[in-house]
C-alpha cells in the first residue's frame, strides 16, 4: 500500500531537490521518484505528483488537481543574509536553469530590502551556451540554488573553466513554505484515507463472508493494525512541519516539537495543532506591529 510520489523538476537536478524537500516534510515513508517534467504525459503511474511553482501551470494541464501539489520553494534567511554582505554596488548573477525562478529570487531579495545590488538573471537552459559562458567570465558574484551552483551544473565541466578565479558563489537550500507543505500533507492524507478505506473494504468483505472464528479474529487484528499504522505518523508530521518552518529561517536550526498532544492524533489534527502553535507566534507578531 506504499504511496507512490513523483517529484517533478524541469531537469533531474531539480527533481532530486524536490525529493529532498518532500523527505524533509514526511521522512522516508513513501516511494519517491524524481521525474523530468517534459516526460510526463499522464497521471496514472503515481498517487501524487509534486512540483515547484515554475512547473505548476504546465503540470495542471496534465495532472488532475487532487493528485497535484505545487510547492513554493524558498531559500532560508541565511542565504539572503549572505547576499546582503556583498559590498554594493555589485553585479550579482542569478544562475538558474529557467528564467522564471531567477526572477523570483531577484524579487525575494528586493522584498527583503537588499538594495544597491544589481541582480542579473542567468537562465542557462534558456540561453545560448556561449552567452552563458561569457557572462560567467565577467561574474564576481554568482548566486542560486545550491544544487545548480554546485558540481551538477555551474561547477561541471560545461562551465567551470569559464568562471573567473576570484568569484564568490552563494548557494541556497530551498525549503517548501509551510503553506504549501500543509497543502501537500493534506492531499497526502486524502490519498492515504482512500487507500486505507479500500483495503479495509476488502478486509471487511472477507470478514462478512468468513465462517471460521479464527479467521475472523485474524482479519479483525489486521484491521486494527491498519488503523494504528495511520495514527502512528502524527508525531512525525508535527516534528517535520516545525522543521519545515525552522528550515525557512535557517537550514541548520531545528525546532523541537512538543509531542504530548499528538499521540493517537490523525495527520490532519497534527497539522492543525502545529499551525495553532505557530499561529500563536503569528498573533504575537501582528499585535506588536
Amino acid at each position: 500500500m506504499k504511496i507512490k510520489i513523483a517529484a517533478i523538476g524541469s531537469n533531474l537536478i531539480i527533481a532530486n531537490e524536490i525529493c529532498t524537500v518532500i523527505r524533509n516534510i514526511v521522512g522516508d515513508a513513501y516511494a519517491l521518484q524524481p521525474i523530468i517534467a517534459k516526460t510526463i504525459k499522464s497521471s496514472e503511474k503515481f498517487d501524487l505528483y509534486v512540483c515547484a511553482v515554475t512547473q505548476g501551470e504546465a503540470m495542471a494541464t496534465i495532472i488532475p488537481n487532487d493528485k497535484l501539489v505545487v510547492l513554493d520553494l524558498r531559500p532560508s534567511a541565511s542565504f539572503f543574509i549572505d547576499i546582503s554582505h556583498i559590498p554594493a554596488p555589485a553585479n550579482i548573477y542569478i544562475f538558474n536553469s529557467n528564467l522564471r525562478y531567477a526572477l523570483l529570487l531577484k524579487e525575494m531579495c528586493e522584498k527583503l530590502h537588499i538594495r544597491n545590488l544589481n541582480f542579473i538573471p542567468l537562465a542557462y537552459e534558456d540561453m545560448d551556451l556561449e552567452a552563458v559562458r561569457t557572462c560567467l567570465g565577467k561574474a564576481k558574484y554568482i548566486v542560486g540554488v545550491a544544487d545548480l551552483v554546485g558540481q551538477n551544473a555551474l561547477l561541471s565541466t560545461l562551465y567551470k573553466s569559464y568562471i573567473s578565479e576570484d568569484v564568490t558563489i552563494i548557494g541556497c537550500n530551498r525549503v517548501a513554505t509551510i503553506d504549501t507543505a500543509c497543502l501537500f500533507l493534506n492531499k497526502l492524507q486524502i490519498i492515504l484515507n482512500l487507500k486505507m478505506g479500500q483495503k479495509i473494504a476488502v478486509l471487511a468483505g472477507k470478514l462478512q463472508k468468513s465462517k471460521s472464528s479464527h479467521k475472523t479474529l485474524r482479519i479483525k487484528t489486521m484491521l486494527d493494525m491498519i488503523i494504528r499504522r495511520q495514527t502512528k505518523g502524527s508525531a512525525m508530521i508535527k516534528q517535520n512541519l516545525l522543521k519545515s518552518f525552522a528550515s525557512q529561517i535557517d537550514n541548520q536550526i531545528f525546532i523541537s516539537a512538543d509531542n504530548s498532544q499528538t499521540n493517537g492524533a490523525s495527520m490532519e489534527e497534527s497539522i492543525i495543532s502545529t499551525l495553532n502553535t505557530l499561529d500563536h507566534l503569528n498573533i504575537a507578531f501582528n499585535t506588536q506591529k
Partner: protein
C-alpha cells in the same frame, strides 16, 4: 531553536528594548538576553546593535526580521486554508437507514472514518424507503443507506456492497438439513417479512414474482428481534440478508439462484453537503469503487 526565542526577537524588534520586551512577555531580562544570544549563535549573525541607548536591528537583523514577516504571512495563509479541515473536528452527521440493513462491511468503514475524526457524531435515523427519500429531499439527513435504487430524479445513488439473501428457519424445521434452499422448496411455507414500505420487501416480492409465486405472509414487521422470536416459536420463516439474525438460535441457509442485492448510498442530487458529510460520502463511495 525554540519558538519562544523567535517571540523574544520579534518583541525586542518592536519595543527596541530588552527590558520592555521582558516586561511585555512576563519573563526575566536575563532569560531574554540568553534566548537572543542563543538564537544569534545558532544563526551565526548578530541580530541587534546593543552599542546605542536604544536597541536597533543590525543590517542582518533587519533582513532576518523581514524574512520572518514573510514566513509569518505564510503561516496565516496556511491556517486559513486548514480552517476547512478544522470543520471536520466537530459536527453531527445524520445518516438514514433502510430497515433491516446489516451494514457489516459499511460499519467498518464508518468506524474507520470515526477513528480519523473522533469528535464527529454519527446519528442514524431508520425510516421507510419513501421516508428516507423525503428526508433526503428535505435535507433532514445528509445521506442514507438503502437497498435498491428507486431511481428518483432528485436522488443520487452510488452502489456500495452486495448482500446475499438467506432463509432463516427454526432449528426444528425439516428443511434445516439442507445446505441451500430454492424459492420453489419454500412454496408451502408461511413467511414473516418486512413491511411493504421497506426497500427489502420490494426486492423479495420481485423474487417471488419471477417464480410466479405469491408468498403466504403471516406477520409483517421491520424489527429483527421480533422476526427472530416469531421464527423461534414456529410462527413462520423469513428471507433476509445473510448475517442479520442470530445463527445460534436459528438456522441460516443461503437462498439459491437469486441475484445478490445491492446496498446503495444515497444523497440529494446537487446538494452541497457539509464538509465532513461530503468527506464521508466520498470516502465510502471511493472505498467501494476500487
Amino acid at each position: 531553536m525554540e519558538l519562544k526565542q523567535l517571540e523574544f526577537f520579534l518583541t525586542i524588534s518592536h519595543t527596541k528594548s530588552f527590558t520592555r520586551a521582558a516586561e511585555q512577555l512576563f519573563v526575566s531580562q536575563p532569560s531574554i538576553t540568553a534566548g537572543i544570544k542563543k538564537l544569534e549563535e545558532e544563526l551565526g549573525i548578530l541580530l541587534f546593535d546593543r552599542s546605542k541607548k536604544q536597541i536597533i536591528l543590525t543590517r542582518e537583523g533587519e533582513i532576518f526580521y523581514r524574512h520572518i514577516a514573510i514566513v509569518m504571512q505564510d503561516i496565516a495563509k496556511a491556517t486559513e486554508k486548514m480552517a476547512a479541515i478544522k470543520d471536520l473536528s466537530e459536527g453531527i452527521l445524520n445518516i438514514g437507514l433502510s430497515p433491516l440493513i446489516t451494514l457489516t462491511a459499511v460499519s467498518y468503514l464508518l468506524a474507520k472514518f470515526h477513528n480519523i475524526h473522533p469528535t464527529l457524531t454519527f446519528k442514524f435515523i431508520e425510516n421507510s424507503m419513501q421516508g428516507l427519500e423525503n428526508s433526503l429531499e428535505q435535507e433532514k439527513i445528509d445521506m442514507a443507506f438503502v437497498f435498491g435504487a428507486n431511481m428518483s430524479n432528485n436522488i443520487e445513488y452510488a452502489p456500495l456492497s452486495c448482500e446475499i439473501l438467506s432463509v432463516y428457519l427454526p432449528l426444528f424445521h425439516p428443511l434445516c438439513k439442507k445446505s441451500s434452499l430454492s424459492l420453489q422448496e419454500l412454496r408451502n411455507e408461511v413467511f414473516i417479512l418486512p413491511t411493504y414500505d421497506c426497500g427489502l420487501r420490494c426486492l423479495i416480492n420481485k423474487l417471488f414474482q419471477a417464480m410466479h409465486q405469491e408468498p403466504h405472509v403471516s406477520f409483517e414487521t421491520n424489527y429483527p428481534q421480533l422476526i427472530q422470536n416469531l421464527i423461534t416459536v414456529g410462527s413462520g420463516i423469513t428471507i433476509l440478508p445473510t448475517g442479520l439474525l442470530d445463527k445460534s438460535i436459528l438456522k441460516e441457509i443461503p437462498l439459491d439462484h437469486t441475484d445478490e442485492i445491492l446496498l446503495y448510498i444515497a444523497k440529494k442530487k446537487d446538494r452541497m453537503l457539509s464538509y465532513p458529510a461530503q468527506k464521508l460520502y466520498d470516502f465510502l463511495k471511493n472505498s467501494y469503487s476500487a
